[in-house]
């Protein structure tokens, strides 16, 4: 596939660029889409199912979190 990155080239580049744009848009237009209501419901369901495994969301006791201090540190 011909690739051109500079937008400063005119003339001979336009044809190749336009052809590529059309091909890309055809690919994008042909994909199957679902409704936002269904997509949202699925996102919500995923959050709901996994919420209990999410330590930052639920908060876990200090004893189980290696980053939370269990007791004050003393400097030796």
């Amino acid at each position: 596939m011909v690739s051109k990155m500079s937008s400063k080239m005119v003339g001979s580049n336009n044809l190749a660029h336009a052809k590529r744009m059309v091909q890309q848009l055809r690919v994008e237009a042909s994909i199957e889409r679902i409704k936002v209501s269904k997509a949202s419901a699925d996102l919500m369901r995923y959050c709901g199912e996994n919420a209990k495994y999410d330590p930052l969301l639920m908060g876990i006791p200090a004893s189980e979190n290696p980053f939370k201090d269990k007791k004050p540190c003393t400097i030796l």
Binding site: V2, A29, R33, L56
Partner: protein, 395 residues
């Protein structure tokens, strides 16, 4: 916007017609070739069907774009936050800095967690790449890169190597040795070669392949052992600033975001750009997949973060506030995808409720821009890196 330095006009014999003319350096099937402008034109014409001209192609392109918008609008029956009204709001969040990792002499630009959930690799402007033990804050390894602005670093899935790169336009892999005295730089392997700075890199599911994105506007997939280019991804019209691989269950795709305000989703095997989203008003600094792989979030210089759903093929949420006017440099999801952590250039980290679209917490602590935010692999904490030379672990 950076210079597009990958186009160089030279003069010499054309690879096709052999005449001495000004040449264009272009890529055909990932091979660089030099054609004169006439041959480029002829090659483009060969692909044309009867009657196609630039004008008919332009007209078709406009009508396809309009059709895309129409199709997307038809399915826009409700907003995500409206559907989310029926779930409970989140309570108060108390997140504090639990560890501060000090040791970089300059701005921290990037970091990554190891899969063992305790090691971290970070890179900075002064060329240093440091591997830390986040539990103890000890530095385990340090490498000095031959360049400054190491904008990308990544931990290998095995935990045995790190990859990094930046202004050297390369991505190099350093195997980590158990021997602290060993000079890591000696075993360095140069894997990727771009024609502009390396902005982001990530190992795929194994230590054997690396995906990179660059200021030259391309992304590329490389074989680590041989350094060979396996696939390249062309489609962005400006620097690509970030990429993220889809969670492994959902297949071989990745998303990239760049200075052209677009977020593109790519098929890794074919190199094809399968979906493209352009609703941001400025550079997209960071992209991150939602844990299920059905959506991704972006952080941008337009001070908003947005959520795009891949199956609905549109933006479904914007995370913004009038009081937030600085760009978001980095985003990451919590394990369940309910929380979005975003680091901003105003030194704060905002925590957003992904479904309701509201902000649930602001975290202060850094004394300069937050450049990178990553949640740990088991979700117990997240780490932020900043231009104040430190990294902070929050939980």
């Amino acid at each position: 916007m950076c210079d597009q330095t990958f186009l160089a006009i030279t003069f010499g014999p054309c690879d096709n017609c052999s005449q001495n003319k000004p040449l264009m350096n272009i890529y055909l099937k990932n091979e660089p070739i030099n054609y004169c402008s006439l041959c480029v034109e002829l090659m483009a014409c060969q692909g044309l069907a009867k009657g196609e001209t630039t004008n008919t192609l332009k007209a078709e392109s406009e009508s396809l774009k309009a059709k895309l918008e129409e199709e997307r609008a038809k399915l826009h029956d409700v907003e995500l936050h409206q559907v989310a009204e029926k779930i409970d709001a989140l309570g108060q969040f108390v997140m504090k800095t639990r560890r501060t990792l000090k040791g970089h002499g300059n701005k921290v630009l990037c970091m990554d967690w190891c899969r063992d959930k305790r090691r971290i690799v970070s890179s900075s402007q002064d060329g240093k790449v440091i591997v830390w033990d986040a539990y103890t804050t000890n530095k385990e390894h340090a490498v000095t890169m031959p360049c400054t602005w190491v904008m990308a670093c990544a931990y290998a899935p095995s935990g045995c190597a790190v990859a990094c790169g930046g202004l050297d336009n390369k991505c190099s892999v350093y195997p980590l040795s158990l021997d602290k005295n060993e000079n890591l730089a000696a075993k360095k392997k140069s894997v990727a070669m771009h024609t502009n700075y390396l902005s982001s890199c990530s190992f795929t599911n194994s230590d054997m392949q690396i995906l990179t994105s660059s200021g030259d506007g391309t992304c590329a997939l490389w074989d680590v052992e041989s350094g060979q280019l396996l696939q390249s991804f062309h489609g962005h019209s400006a620097d690509v600033l970030s990429l993220d691989l889809a969670p492994s269950e959902t297949g071989n795709t990745f998303v990239s975001g760049g200075c052209d305000k677009k977020a593109n989703v790519w098929d890794m095997r074919s190199g094809q750009n399968v979906q493209s989203f352009e609703t941001h008003e400025s550079d997209i600094n960071n992209v991150k997949y939602y844990p299920s792989g059905d959506a991704f979030a972006t952080g941008s210089d337009d001070a908003t973060c947005r959520l795009y759903d891949l199956r609905a093929d549109r933006e479904v949420a914007i995370y913004s506030k009038d009081s937030i006017i600085f760009g978001a440099s980095s985003v990451d999801f919590s394990l369940s995808g309910r929380l979005l952590f975003a680091g901003y250039n105003d030194y704060t980290i905002n925590v957003w409720d992904v479904l309701k679209g509201t902000r649930v917490a602001i975290l202060f602590g850094h004394e300069n821009r937050v450049s990178t935010v990553r949640v740990s692999p088991d979700g117990t904490a997240f780490c932020s890196g900043s231009w104040d030379n430190t990294l902070r672990i929050w939980a």
